[in-house]
Assembly symmetry: C2
Homo-oligomer: 278 residues x 2
């Protein structure tokens, strides 16, 4: 009970408080949603947890897709579903418990089978807290295979360019050598509303392989996830961690690999980079 979070913003309330959540009138293709960080969304550092940050953004994506007519209901009626394949999160400052934030998201680049969507997390003054880039495909639920993006998705006009450099998302590599390895069981609590392992469960698994003092006293600066295959309920998974040599600013960075413990079937590759404790 020593680490007390005291520097929370407070007072008059953020300037965007009066905005209506959802699709804003000035730009129907950018979805905006204000949110106050809840107690259960903060982690052991007193700040928004990486998992909750990803949940906030993905919730906005789901709501936006529904508003654009390509949401869960529309797709599932045709035996289709959105599947996340790549996720990159970069954080400038982690918001604190009870802080007011604004989530923005919009569709951007597309290929024949993949659709990209970008995200911004802003503070009450409009300053950038975090940004994320994501790549999705649409799965035929019967055949378990990706399909060509349907007409309704291909005709959505990207309202803004991509957040990143415009090049491909960073290629991820398995850890080599493996410094740390832990086995976890897929729990009931890891499943999402379709009975599949939730995207964000992997965030917790990957972070569990990071040295604890870095989670407690440092800050996650970036997180990249590449989803390869689906973990099964009740399975044992192995989370491996090794050093990442590519961190340009010298902060601690890691490569991670999640595989089925028995079969070594690869489920996820990830990269994390941290700002060490001051």
């Amino acid at each position: 009970m020593k680490r007390i979070v005291s520097d929370r913003p407070d007072g008059e309330g953020p300037r965007y408080r009066a905005r209506i959540p959802g699709v804003s009138p000035e730009n129907s293709e950018v979805f905006r949603e204000p949110h106050r960080i809840r107690g259960a969304e903060a982690d052991g550092s007193g700040r928004l947890s990486p998992r909750a940050a990803c949940e906030l953004m993905q919730e906005a994506a789901a709501r936006h897709a529904s508003a654009l007519g390509v949401g869960y209901d529309e797709l599932v009626a045709r035996g289709l579903a959105w599947v996340l394949v790549q996720w990159t999160l970069s954080v400038t400052r982690w918001p604190l418990w009870r802080e007011d934030v604004l989530v923005e998201t919009w569709p951007c680049d597309r290929t024949e089978r993949t659709a990209a969507r970008d995200f911004l997390l802003l503070d009450a003054a409009g300053g950038e807290l975090a940004r994320a880039e994501s790549v999705w495909l649409i799965l035929d639920l019967g055949k378990r295979r990706p399909v060509r993006l349907p007409e309704e998705v291909r005709t959505i006009r990207p309202p803004r360019g991509p957040l990143g450099s415009g090049t491909e998302l960073a290629r991820l590599f398995p850890p080599e050598p493996v410094e740390e390895s832990l086995d976890l069981s897929v729990r009931w609590a890891d499943l999402d509303l379709n009975g599949h392992v939730s995207n964000v469960a992997y965030v917790d698994w990957v972070l569990e392989s990071v040295p604890r003092d870095l989670l407690r006293d440092g800050r996650l600066r970036s997180l990249a996830l590449s989803f390869r295959s689906e973990a099964r309920d009740g399975a044992r998974v192995r989370v491996e961690r090794g050093p990442d040599p590519g961190a340009p600013d010298g902060g601690p960075a890691f490569r991670h690999r999640v595989a089925e413990a028995g079969s070594a079937r690869e489920l996820l590759l990830a990269r994390t980079a941290f700002v060490p404790a001051a």
Copy 2:
């Protein structure tokens, strides 16, 4: 991807949508907060997860305590903190993903060292979804011992009577015999914003010991938790489950015990009762 949740309420929006979250004008001592069930709050059954239900209610409790001047900030400034000791949740119907709900909470009975707080979870038509009763004490963070409730807490007038029978919360018993036992590690993701294991992490641990088909196809009808001691970050905990003979309506019911794996130090006793699959 077979279990599709289709019976979601929709349409005009709930009648309480216009209400301001927080302390309502007609009764300043009942806190109300509307909420739409988010994707990450649904579990593998497509309904609000028990963990998220407890989080929703405890978030409202924290906000209400702050509104009443006895919240986190006021207490921690004096070296004190609220600690949950007992929690009983009874569910009539689990709300679905995207359903609009209303959380209500108010303080009720008190003893010299314990304060009770009740909760209702209502659907958009005002119908009861779930109710919860809770007992809290205030801990001296330096001495790690409960204190007599401070004046500011003792002078809060309970606006409603207790939800339950008015008698003591049900006494809980350890499982005897133990039918199922699993060992879990306390993960970084289990820690709350104070760096302690979150109350709601225990909910997931207890449910993990329940037969999976009952979680998937049945419904949790009630959950009672009695917190005994604090789990430490990184510790191994053992979750034990046994039958509960006391279920009056014959549905499956279990006793649970969570203890430190090494020392057998008891951390939690729990009871769960289920409605089996129809």
